[in-house]
Amino acid sequence: MNNKIISPLEASSKVKNSIAKRRAKDNRLRLYGRISISLAVCFLLFLFYSIFSKGYSGFFQYYVTLDINFDRERIDPKGDLSENSLFDGDASVIVNESLFSIIQPTGRKEKKQAKKIVSSGKDIRITKMVKNNPSLFGTITKVKFALDDDIDSFLRGYIKRETPESERRISNKVIEYVDKLNEEGRITYEFSDYILSGSASGNPEMAGIKGAFIGSMLTLSVCLLISFPLGIATAVYLEEIAKKNKITEIIEVNINNLAAVPSVVFGIMGLAIFISIFGMPRSIPLVGGMVLALMTLPTIIISSRAAIRAVPPSVRDAAYGIGASKIQVIFHHVIPLAMPGMLTGTIIGMAQALGETAPLLMIGMVAFIVDIPNSIVDPGTVLPVQIFMWADFAERMFVQKTSAAIIVLLVFLISMNAFAVYLRKKLERRW
């Protein structure tokens, strides 16, 4: 039975014996910590790398330069540049003629294949050009056209020559034609004029994010206009005016609950109430903004309350002491002092709203919208939903453009968050 108290000497030697193992354990824990952080950072970097490497090339695409004969009679038969006239015109035939003069296909089958080389947006390009600049009529001018996405993928090397023809998306003849165009120096790789200024399209080479971007801006504006005043008003009311009773407790619990509800559910609510019951149209930024506003409200309320609480009581006491009323104290003193915190919380809330997809899917901002919305009641989509829709398409070029769209989205998010951090640092007060 070892029931003697250990002498300090004995204790010392026992401790010294135990040190090595304990230090090893300590170092192991430090190592685990370092590994974990490194893993997390690696994931982050890999994610960014993966997106950027795919997306960088999404900002560029291949073009072919052709000499176009701007024959007014064929492009604008009625001569008045009206929509009907241009619609009846033969712009695409002119383009094909120019193309055929270079590659000279023979027979119907070859001509059919050749017609697919230039993007199907060729006639729109011509008609846009003549509308902006009618003096082009009667000239022969060089025009750059986007190449069809299969040709584009081939030029980038994703569709390989070596693959047997039956397994390839483009035929040997088409490759021959492309080679010929390349030899003449007519094919160029340039910054895409579609990705940022075009809108959604089924053809990857013509697809762009302009529509989605404007839709996002409109939706966010609605969200901000609704959630910012409501959020501040609620936060001020709960912090400064309301007495602490059962009702305010219920409201607080409610707000905390709402912050925890998955975003899909907000979409369902929007679908059931705004669309079914109120009968509002689907797919408009107004409804999207309302749903996002309700989602962002808890965030704004909670951060605003924290900002209001941070204002020291001495400021309020001083104002009351001069004889200001409660509302005057709030509006003249508390709110201005709490504004930096409230703004920061709002910007962060808006950044979250910008990236939301699921609730907007629920209210239908997913239809194939080609037109760019002009107002908050025109159908539109938002950037994350656009990304979601494009992600489904198999064409290689869509993968690149989707990644490019993600880059645009991330750039905005990073800017907004950086701005919020900057604002917080700049306007930070040390009481």
């Binding site: 824990l29 430090r30 910590g33 005043p229 008003a233 609510m269 239908g364 993968v399």
Partner: protein, 462 residues
């Protein structure tokens, strides 16, 4: 456009009353020796608000309400043979009439629709005139009444402040209204679902195979082909969340321990925000990453080892979701660990503990409730997550524990069912609401529990 102009007009009248009130107050000041109770501009504001608010209320009621009224009245103009037909669906008829009113005509609609839309248009016209008159009258009358109130004794600042407080109180109620709206929209539809499919079949059934009623009737298979057993969905959600936790808890927890106990302040200032970035990335980006990078990578590396990993495996979705959740665990745990008082650490070091011993045997056990709460919150987030699973996990309701197979989740099904064509009455559409109800109950339940845990833990230290 019409509404816009009307609103502009209302605002204009309100501002006119602002001036009336302001001028009257000024005249009172000039004509009397004694000062008024409030500053002069408050009287103007009072007039403005008194005119504007009731008018806005009337405007909204009339503008929103007339659509409901018309929908009821238009029923008179639907021919009997349409009402009695088998496929009668009022919502669709209403939509057709509205399209016709808006000028969107597809093909040649029947004559009665054209008639109905003409009648609707005339009603709209009449209602617009009515709205203008009523709003105008309300504005003038309420403005005038407020104007009469202005005299020497009137405490306009108090009145204005009371109005402002009421507006703020109303906005606070919006939070409650939203909750009610969510409950209302989800609960009632879910109940209609449970009227068709019994509770126990939903909660305990192991086959999930919803079909549209149209498909059933078209004879795509045997009768009663639809099955609504949600167990595979729960299992899928559970499996993916579990994988996510396996990634996020070790990484998040050890990161939090390192950053709060071992890291220098420079390291901490650099790495903590970096981890937060993971939380700021939109989930659609994670979904894209999972579907286009992680899943193919897993599939090809799996084939090297002779494993057949599905292209929409639970592993891919769960792994990426784990990455997304890391900051939830690391941030919250970091806060909790920092909240443990320094005196406990001092006691530990004073006895000769190594840092490892102090952290693992003293600090963590003290912080454990908070850490557990953060894990629960992270799980709740994982369960409610939608985009990653929609894009990277499958749609096949597969009941399995194998992470290499494709599974689907509750949220994924909700999205799939509700996006696209819907028939509001069918069991399939309603099943989405039942799923949403389950989702709400689970996530809210977890959040309540996490808060409860944190509350108990705080009592320990205060």
């Amino acid at each position: 456009m019409f509404n816009f102009y009307l609103l502009a007009g209302i605002l204009l009248i309100s501002f006119i009353f602002f001036f009336f009130g302001y001028i009257r107050a000024r005249s009172l000041v000039i004509s009397n020796q004694k000062n008024l109770h409030s500053l002069v501009h408050y009287y103007g504001i009072f007039s403005l608000l008194a005119c504007l608010l009731p008018t806005l209320g009337v405007f909204f009621i009339l503008t929103v309400g007339d659509d409901f009224l018309f929908a009821e009245l238009i029923k008179e103009f639907i021919p009997d043979h349409v009402i009695n037909s088998e496929n009668y669906n009022f919502t669709i008829i209403l939509a057709q009439i509205n399209n016709s009113v808006d000028g969107l005509i597809f093909g040649t609609p029947p004559q009665w629709i054209k008639n109905a839309s003409e009648i609707w248009k005339s009603w709209v016209h009449k209602s617009q005139i009515l709205t203008v008159i009523v709003c105008f009258l309300t504005a003038i009358i309420s403005g005038f009444l407020s104007y009469k109130k202005i005299n020497r004794e009137f405490r306009s600042r108090n009145a204005v402040e009371k109005i402002i407080i009421s507006i703020m109180a109303l906005s606070s109620v919006i939070a409650i209204l939203t909750t009610i709206a969510i409950i209302f929209s989800v609960f009632f539809e879910a109940m209609r679902f449970f009227a068709l499919i019994p509770f126990d079949e939903f909660l305990f059934g192991t086959v999930w195979n919803p079909q549209f009623e149209g498909a059933e009737r078209a004879g795509s298979g045997q009768e009663g082909l639809s099955q609504y057993g949600a167990i595979p969905l729960f299992a899928g959600t559970f499996l993916i969340s579990l994988i996510a936790l396996c990634v996020s808890v070790p990484v998040g927890l050890f990161s939090a321990i390192y950053l709060s106990e071992y890291a220098s302040s420079k390291e901490r200032a650099f790495f903590k925000p970096l981890l937060e970035v993971l939380a700021g990335i939109p989930t659609v980006v994670y979904g894209f990453f999972a579907a286009l990078t992680v899943a193919p990578f897993l599939r090809s590396s799996g084939s090297i080892f002779g494993l057949d990993i599905a292209s929409e495996s639970a592993l891919a979705a769960g792994f990426v979701m784990g990455i997304m959740i890391i900051p939830f665990i690391s941030s919250l745990s970091d806060d909790v660990i920092n909240a443990v008082p320094q005196s406990l650490r001092d006691a530990g070091y004073g006895l000769g503990s190594t840092k490892n011993e102090t952290v693992m045997k003293i600090v963590l056990p003290a912080a454990l409730p908070g850490v557990v709460a953060s894990v629960i919150l992270a799980v709740s987030r994982a369960v409610g997550e939608t985009m990653i699973v929609v894009m990277a996990a499958g749609l096949a309701a597969n009941l399995t524990a194998n992470p290499l197979e494709a599974v689907t989740t509750v949220t994924s099904q909700i999205v799939t069912i509700l996006v696209g064509d819907q028939e509001f009455e069918s069991a399939k559409t309603l099943s989405a609401f039942a799923l949403a109800l389950t989702l709400i109950i689970i996530t809210l339940g977890m959040n309540f529990y996490a808060l409860h845990v944190v509350k108990k833990y705080r009592e320990q230290y205060e």
